[in-house]
C-alpha cells in the first residue's frame, strides 16, 4: 500500500533527522543560556567592515555570536555576545577592530549570567506543547478521532523535523527561531492536515468501498493546491529574506523556510497517511460493530 510506504518513509526521514540532530547537538542561543560579553569602545564610530571581519574570524567558533552597535553620550561601542570565549579571543577581537578604528580598546570582557534563560526555555517549550495540543484537540473535535490522530502525528513530526534540521544546520535557538518558528510550523501542519482530511471525505469514500490509497489520492487531488499555495506563500517570503538580508536575520528567514517545508513534508508523509490508514481501519471497524449490533 502506497500510504503505508509513505508513512514508513516519513518516519524514516524523521528518525534520520533526529539521530543526526542528536549527533550534532541542539544549540540553545543566548536568549536561553549564559555566555560572555566583550565590550570594545572607541571615540570613533565602528563600521560594518569591522563587524563583518569579527563575524568572519569567530563565526561558528564561539557558539552563537551576536554583535550589536551601541552608543552612549561619549563613546561608540561594540557589544559582542558569545557563548564561550577566552581573554585571548577578546584581545584578538580588539586587534581586528584596531585595523579599521584606531581608537578601539577593550572596555571589558566578562561572563554573562542569564538567570531567567533556562526557565524561559522551559516555559516556551511548555507553551509550544500547549499550542500543539489545543490545535490537535480542535482538529479532533471537527474531524473525529482519525483527524485528531493525524494532526497529532503530523504536527509533532513537523515540529521535531524543524528542530532537527535547525540543529543539523548548526543554528541556535533564539526566542524568535524557537517560539515563532515552532508555532508557525505546528499551525501550518495542522491547517494542511485539516485541509487534506477535509478533501478526503473519508466517510463517503469508505461507504463506497474505497481503499486507503484511493482516499489519499482524492485528498491530495482536492487539497494539493492549497498545501502548495500555503507553502509557496511562506517560501517566497522566507526566500526573499534569505536573498536580501545578511547575518542573523537570514538565519531567521531560513528557519521560517525550514518550518514551512517541514510542515508540508510531514503533512504529506505522515499526517495524510495516518488519517487515511486510521480512518480505514477504525471507521470500518466501528461500522462493522454497529452493523453487528443492529443485526443482534
Amino acid at each position: 500500500m502506497m500510504q503505508s510506504r509513505n508513512l514508513k518513509l516519513g518516519i524514516l526521514v524523521l528518525v534520520i533527522a533526529l539521530v543526526a540532530a542528536l549527533i550534532f547537538g541542539v544549540g540553545l542561543g543566548q536568549d536561553f543560556t549564559d555566555g560572555y560579553l566583550v565590550r570594545i569602545n572607541s571615540a570613533n564610530a565602528f563600521d560594518e567592515v569591522t563587524v563583518n571581519k569579527i563575524y568572519e574570524a569567530f563565526g561558528g567558533k564561539l557558539g552563537e555570536l551576536r554583535i550589536q552597535y551601541a552608543q552612549d553620550h561619549y563613546n561608540a561601542q561594540l557589544l559582542i555576545h558569545v557563548q564561550k570565549a577566552e581573554q585571548a579571543d577578546a584581545d584578538k577581537m580588539v586587534e581586528i577592530a584596531l585595523e579599521d578604528n584606531e581608537g578601539a580598546y577593550l572596555r571589558g570582557f566578562d561572563t554573562v549570567t542569564n538567570h531567567n534563560g533556562a526557565a524561559a526555555f522551559r516555559k516556551y517549550t511548555f507553551l509550544v506543547l500547549v499550542v500543539y495540543l489545543l490545535g490537535m484537540a480542535y482538529v479532533w473535535y471537527r474531524q473525529g478521532r482519525s483527524g485528531g490522530v493525524a494532526a497529532l502525528a503530523g504536527s509533532s513530526a513537523a515540529f521535531l523535523l524543524v528542530i532537527a534540521i535547525q540543529s543539523i544546520a548548526g543554528m541556535y535557538f533564539s526566542e524568535a527561531t524557537f517560539m515563532g518558528v515552532s508555532v508557525l510550523t505546528i499551525v501550518f501542519a495542522q491547517m494542511m492536515i485539516y485541509l487534506l482530511n477535509d478533501s478526503a471525505d473519508a466517510k463517503a469514500g469508505l461507504l463506497a468501498g474505497e481503499d486507503a490509497d484511493t482516499l489519499a489520492k482524492k485528498a491530495w487531488i482536492g487539497g494539493k493546491s492549497k498545501v502548495i499555495v500555503l507553502t509557496a506563500a511562506i517560501a517566497i517570503f522566507a526566500l526573499t529574506g534569505c536573498v536580501m538580508a545578511e547575518g542573523i536575520i537570514r538565519n531567521f528567514m531560513t528557519a521560517i523556510l525550514m518550518g514551512a517545508c517541514s510542515a508540508a513534508l510531514m503533512t504529506v508523509l505522515i499526517g495524510l497517511p495516518t488519517y487515511v490508514l486510521f480512518a480505514h481501519k477504525y471507521m470500518l471497524k466501528a461500522g462493522a460493530k454497529k452493523k453487528a449490533k443492529a443485526i443482534k
Binding site: 550589536q68 557589544l79 500555503l230 536575520i249
Partner: protein, 432 residues
Amino acid sequence: MKTRSLILFLLIAAIIMTSAWGVFCGVSLGAERFAPMEVLQGGADLQGEASIFLQLTPAEGVEVTEEQINEMTDILYARLDNQGFKQSSVMLIGENEFEVRLPVNTNSDFQDLDQIAEILYTVGNVYITEKSDKNAVLITREMIERVELQSNASGKFSFFLIMTDEGKEELEKVTTEISERKREDEKYVRVYVDDTQVSELSIRQPSTEGYFGFSSSYTEYKAERLANILNAGCLPVALETVAEENVSARMGIEAWDDMILCFGLVTAAMMFILVLVFRVSGLINALTLAAYQAALAVVLAALGIRLDGAGMACLAAVFGYLIVSLVYNNHAFKKQFEGGKNIRAAYKTAYTETTATVTNMGMILLVGFVALLASGTAALESMAYAYGVALLMAYLCVMLVNRMLFALMVRVTADKPALYFPVKKTTEGGNA
C-alpha cells in the same frame, strides 16, 4: 443596477488602494502626518533596544552573596514590569555589574533612560524615624509589607504603608508612646526613602489599624513610580549607573527594514500571481490583500503593539492563512461554475460552502493565540497580540472585504465568465 455596482466596486477599490498607499508611504495632513509605518514599533531583535549598566556598590568589606544577586534580579524585573517594560531582560555581567536591556528604541513613546535608571538604582528602603534624630528608626523596611496610594479631591496623593503582623504591633506601640508625649514638638516623626525625607507629620493618636498614612505633594506619575519601586522590594545592595546606551537590533542593523521589505515584496508577488492565475477573482483577492496589510499596519500602530521576530513569524503564518483562504474560495467558485451554475449562483454557493473550512482553519490558528495570551508570559505578550490582531484582520478581510467585492463584481460581470476563467460549454450543459 450594473452601473451602480460597478461604481461602488471602483469606489471601494480606490479607497483600499489609496488607504494602502497612505499607510505605507505616509501622508501629510497640514501640520499633522498620518504615517503608521513610521510609528510601528519593532522589538529589540528587529529595531534595537537600550542598555543600562548598573554596578553593585556594597559597603566596604562586604561580600555580595548569590542569594542577594538572585533577589536583586527579581526586584529589578518586578520594577520593570510595574513600569510597563515587560520585555526587558536583566543579566549579570561579571560579578558586580547588571546589564538591563529595555525595549526602548527610536520609535518608543518613552525614551528617557535617566528616569528608568533612577527607578532601577533606587534602593527602596522606606523607614520612619524620630524628627529629632534621623538615626532613631522607629519602623524599619522589614516591618512594611506593601505601599498603597490614594488620591484626594484636590489631586494630592497619600501613601499608606501597610504593615506586617510584626510591624502592626510595633506601629501601635510606637504611635501610642509618641501620642502620649507632653511636648508638642516631640510628637513629630519623619518618613524617609533612601535617606531622602519624603514626609514629616505629628502623631496625635495611636495607630491600631495596621497602616501608616501620610500625604505628599507628588504628581500622579511620581507617586505611582515611588509606590511601584517600594512594592517591588528593597535592594539588598546599592546600585550605581555606569552607562546608558542605545543598542542596535539583535538581528542586525538592517533587520527591521529587511523584514518590512520582505513583507512588501511577498505581498506584491502574491498579488501579481493571484491576478495572473485567477483573473478578476485574483484582482479581488489582490485588493483584499492590500486591505489586510493596510488595516493590520494601522491597528498595530494604533495599539502600539511591538513586533519582534517571533511576532513576525506569526504574521507570516496568518498571511499564509489569508492566501490559502482566498485560493480556497476561488477553487470552490470554479468548481461550482464547472458544475453548471451561473456566475452569481456559483459565487453564492462557493462562499457558503467554504465558510466552515475557512473558519475552522482560523480556529486552529486562534487556539495558538489563546494559549500564548493565557500563558501570562510577559515576553510573549506582544507576539500574542500581533498574532491575534493579524488573525482577526485576516478573517474579517476574507469574510467581509473579499465577499463584498466579489458580490459587487459578479453583479457587473454575471454574463462574462471568461473574465474569471477560460470557459468552454460542455455537451451536458455544464461549464468546463
